[in-house]
């Protein structure tokens, strides 16, 4: 056969053998998404065939030479009601099914481990709680729900893993989350799917799903020695946050111990749930939400901390579970002679000018 054309032959052999219509299913949700996709494809095929059949049959039966005079028909309420109600019913089924799926895809289970992702022109930077950083790749363990908390440093990006059937925009100025549970060991594409400028199509990475043992090995092998929370602790001290938020009864700022996940009462009288997004906003725009009983005296840190720095701070505050930690921070920072100001600690998180 290959005497026909070597080019075509190679083309057939090389690519047609790997031809697939659906990407691998590598997450807990993927088969569920595919089930709905298959259902929709079948309904569409039936609908399309119906329209094509009707048109072909009528074209043959009622072409001019067979049927020279048309019979005028006004319409038929019964028929029209049929093709209004049946599509409506099918569409509603797809709506309900799709919505259930949507909530499942975007509602993380409580035991999900959290990884932070920062999107920037043009790379994905993942930050593991243990302090491991990686660029354009993401290592995750198999059979373990993983939640990604994402933010963009510049323009919109969108984090897409086709094999997992999940995708979420990384937006400047706010955290978004997505979660998945990988079910097959392997390496999968990670795409940026929201157009983000020059190197948009080069913002491709890989998601590496590993067995728990391999994942542990990888964690141990890529650690920077400082966890996110520890880095946050250093920043907390170097930005002098502990001058006010020191947990003392008469301090100028509220204690941050156990604040994560709690409901705060604001001076506006509104209660607010303290989550990552709230903590980030409270650092950047403190006067917008003042906790009851405190004066609006905290300065803004807008422009002074990078997104990675904010993530570290948030992670630190999340992990503060008693006054003991704050106390320790005070001590640690006092004991760090070579990093008394922002600049020295800045390598990890303070925004570069």
């Amino acid at each position: 056969m290959d005497h026909l054309s070597p080019v075509i032959w190679q083309f057939l052999i090389k690519w047609l053998t790997n031809f697939a219509v659906i990407p691998p299913e590598a997450s807990r949700i993927a088969p569920q998404v595919d089930a709905l996709l298959v259902f929709m494809t079948l309904v569409s095929l039936v609908g399309l065939t119906l329209v094509a059949l009707l048109m072909t049959a009528f074209s043959i039966l009622y072409r001019r030479d067979r049927n020279p005079v048309a019979t005028q028909i006004e319409g038929s309420t019964l028929l029209e009601a049929t093709w209004t109600i049946i599509p409506l019913g099918l569409f509603l089924v797809m709506f309900v099914w799709g919505s259930v799926l949507y909530f499942r895809i975007y509602t993380p289970p409580p035991n999900a481990m959290n990884i932070y992702v920062v999107g920037k022109q043009w790379m994905w930077k993942a930050e593991h709680p243990g302090g491991q950083h990686e660029i354009n790749s993401l290592h995750v363990p198999i059979n373990q729900p993983v939640q990604l908390t994402m933010i963009s440093q510049d323009v919109f990006h969108s984090f897409s893993i086709p094999a997992f059937r999940v995708k979420r925009e990384a937006i400047p100025g706010r955290y978004t989350t997505v979660w998945f549970e990988a079910t097959a060991v392997g390496t999968y594409h990670l795409f940026c799917t929201q157009y983000c400028g020059t190197a948009h199509s080069a913002m491709i990475g890989e998601v590496v799903v590993q067995s728990p043992e391999d994942y542990k090995k990888w964690l141990a092998g890529s650690t920077s020695g400082v966890s996110l929370a520890q880095n946050g602790e250093r920043l907390f001290a170097s930005l002098s946050c502990n001058a006010c938020h020191n947990g003392q009864p008469n301090s100028r700022g509220p204690s941050l111990a156990d604040v994560y996940g709690s409901k705060l009462n604001l001076t506006t009288g509104q209660p607010v749930l303290v989550d990552e997004a709230y903590l980030r906003q409270a650092i950047l725009n403190p006067s917008a939400h003042i906790t009851e009983g405190y004066a609006p005296i905290m300065p803004t840190y807008q422009g002074q901390i990078s997104e990675e720095g904010l993530i570290s701070l948030v992670e630190y505050i999340k992990n503060l579970s008693s006054n003991y930690r704050v106390q320790q921070t005070l001590n640690t920072s006092a004991l760090l002679p070579e990093s008394p100001d922002k600049k020295a600690a800045g390598a990890q998180g303070v925004a570069k000018p």
Binding site: F11, W15, L16, N18, V33, L36, L37, M40, S44, L48, V51, A52, L54, M55, F58, S59, Y62, R63, R64, N67, A70, T71, I73, E74, G75, S76, E80, W83, T84, L88, F91, M94, F95, W97, G98, S99, V100, L101, Y102, Y106, Q121, D154, V155, F156, A163, R165, K167, E169, I171, G173, R174, T193, Q194, Y195, G197, T198, A199, H200, S201, N285
Partner: protein, 553 residues
């Protein structure tokens, strides 16, 4: 008794000497004309020009995507090219195409009026269109713009160093052309119908353009405001969309899609109108369920305004907003389904012939059905997550807008060509062109559904090698499609001189436009007609012919 002008038909094989084309001569008589038909021709020429620019850019995009590497051009160039392809095709071709050419030409004639309500505003809208188009070209030549036609902030406001301001203002200006055209149509349809032309005697083409006009008048100003905000943010940094100044980048998405989703219906509704006319004429039947088709146009226009956030399911709108917008999106799909089945059943017991406009209309039916059904995949929130921002969405909207809208436009151009020019297009080669277009289109865009399912993101200059085989198919298809589009360009121009003389009513159709001479007189009707017959009344047409025969005999 109707007093429609009935000039003797095929007996004299000459294009009437006195018509709107020959009435006055010289370039100035065209550039300063108030005649809706001449303005339609001006639009037709300029829109065709921009279509071929947009098409050439599409060709470059497909050439680049033939191989996985970014080897034909640099990424920046690629980004500028797909941006310009989108801007030119959407704002300078798809939005104005049917309303500004066919609508301008036909609406006054179809309702029995001498002209549109505001002839000077009509001419002004062509100039605005041309000014916007020229500015867009200038922006393209002097460095281009690379934000994508969606102008997503903060990409467009803070991170792009290209001609965002020029392009934004160009679209702002072209937008007013759209607003004025819509306004003109609405007033004309309300105020200038001939005696006896009641709302339910209006041809469906008029209904469809009326619905689209409502969208143009209500939607386009929102786009204009949004673009002004982008320009202000870029030049003086007002910060509406900038999170570091307390703005919200998602707000841009809301504003932009509040126009740009209805814009899809601005593009497709007039196309629906063309298809209704063509299918009725070539099966010699009143449209099955005329009222349902007319009302479904209005339903699409109204519902079309409440679905914009389905472009933002993965963008961080609240989960409950997603529910509402997903539901509304499903509801807006229903009127489209109604139309498809009504058109199909119009064929039932008809007397069908397959001239070129009918072939394009059949092509439209197939492609639009696929485009509409795949829209449901994207309206359903759970599957949207996987498919959005991939080639699936590219394929979907090309099926709707190119497969639907462009097929309808070509169908309409062929259908009314004899009326506009007095000459027939050559039938055999145009039938061939219609078939080539249909095949080329499917080969181009069907593989893109599969690419999207596999996860290939849109707007990529380079892509992982496993996607190549489908991209090769797509590029091959685009080549065929290109031939399909070039053919009409050649033979239609040829037909202006060598085409068979058309006569007044070559299709034996019922509309008022077919009862006057081709090409029409400047004033359309010698006396304003009094409409007594029903719309699409083929029996009335038969009686008219008999009447003529007995008189002549």
């Amino acid at each position: 008794m109707s007093t429609i002008v009935s000039l003797p038909d095929q007996s004299t094989a000459r294009v009437p000497k006195r018509n709107y084309l020959t009435n006055e001569n010289g370039l100035l008589s065209w550039l300063l004309t108030g005649d809706h038909k001449r303005i339609a021709i001006l639009y037709l020429i300029s829109i065709t020009f921009f279509f071929f620019i947009g098409g050439a850019l599409a060709g470059l995009i497909r050439m680049e995507l033939l191989t996985p590497q970014s080897d034909l051009m640099a990424s920046d160039t690629y980004n500028k090219i797909f941006t310009m392809h989108g801007v030119v095709m959407i704002f300078l071709f798809l939005v104005p195409s049917v309303p500004a050419t066919l609508g301008n030409f036909l609406i006054p004639i179809m309702i029995g009026a001498k002209d549109l309500a505001f002839p000077k505003i009509n001419l002004l809208s062509w100039y605005l269109y041309l000014a916007g188009g020229t500015m867009t070209l200038a922006a393209m030549i002097t460095g281009g713009v690379d934000t994508g036609w969606t102008f997503t902030t903060p990409m467009s406001t803070h991170f792009s160093n290209t001609n965002v301001v020029t392009t934004g203002l160009a679209i702002f200006i072209a937008g007013f052309s759209s607003i004025f055209t819509g306004l003109n149509f609405i007033v004309t349809v309300h105020r200038m119908r001939a005696p006896g032309m009641t709302w339910f005697k209006l041809p469906l083409f008029v209904w469809a353009n009326y619905a689209a006009s409502v969208l143009m008048v209500l939607g386009t100003p929102v786009l204009a405001i949004t673009l002004v905000l982008v320009v202000l943010e870029r030049t003086v940094g007002i910060g509406v969309f900038d999170p570091t100044k307390g703005g919200d980048p998602i707000l841009f998405q809301h504003l932009f899609w509040f126009y740009s989703h209805p814009a899809v219906y601005i593009m497709i509704l007039p196309g629906f109108g063309v298809i209704s006319e063509v299918i009725s004429t070539f099966s010699r039947k009143r449209i099955f369920g005329y009222t349902a088709v007319a009302f479904s146009s209005m339903a699409i226009a109204v519902f079309g305004f409440f679905v914009w956030a389905h472009h933002m399911f993965i963008m961080g709108v609240s989960n409950y907003a997603v529910l509402v917008f997903s539901l509304l999106t499903m509801l807006v799909a229903v009127p489209s389904a109604i139309k498809i089945f009504n058109w199909a059943f119009t064929l039932y017991k008809g007397s069908i012939t397959f001239e070129t406009p009918m072939l394009y209309a059949f092509g439209f039916m197939g492609l639009f059905t696929i485009g509409g059904l795949t829209g449901v995949f994207l309206g359903s929130a759970g599957t949207d997550i996987h498919l959005t921002e991939t080639y699936f969405i590219v394929a979907h909207f090309h099926f709707v807008m190119v497969g639907g809208m462009l097929m309808a436009f070509l169908s309409g151009i062929h259908f009314w060509w004899p009326k506009m020019t007095g000459r027939m297009y050559p039938e055999k080669i145009s039938q061939l062109a219609a078939v080539v277009t249909f095949i080329g289109f499917n080969l181009t865009f069907f593989p893109q559904f599969l690419l999207g399912m596999l996860g290939m993101p849109r707007r990529y200059a380079a892509y992982p090698p496993e996607f190549q085989v489908l991209n090769v198919f797509s590029t091959a298809g685009a080549t065929i499609l290109g031939v399909g589009y070039l053919l009409p360009m050649i033979y239609l121009v040829w037909s202006l001189k060598y085409g068979k003389v058309a006569g007044n009513n070559p299709w034996q159709a019922t509309g008022l436009e077919w009862q006057i001479q081709s090409p029409p007189l400047t004033e359309n009707f010698t006396t304003i007609p009094i409409v007594t017959q029903d719309v699409y009344d083929y029996e009335w047409l038969e009686r008219q012919k008999e009447h003529e025969v007995t008189h002549v005999g």
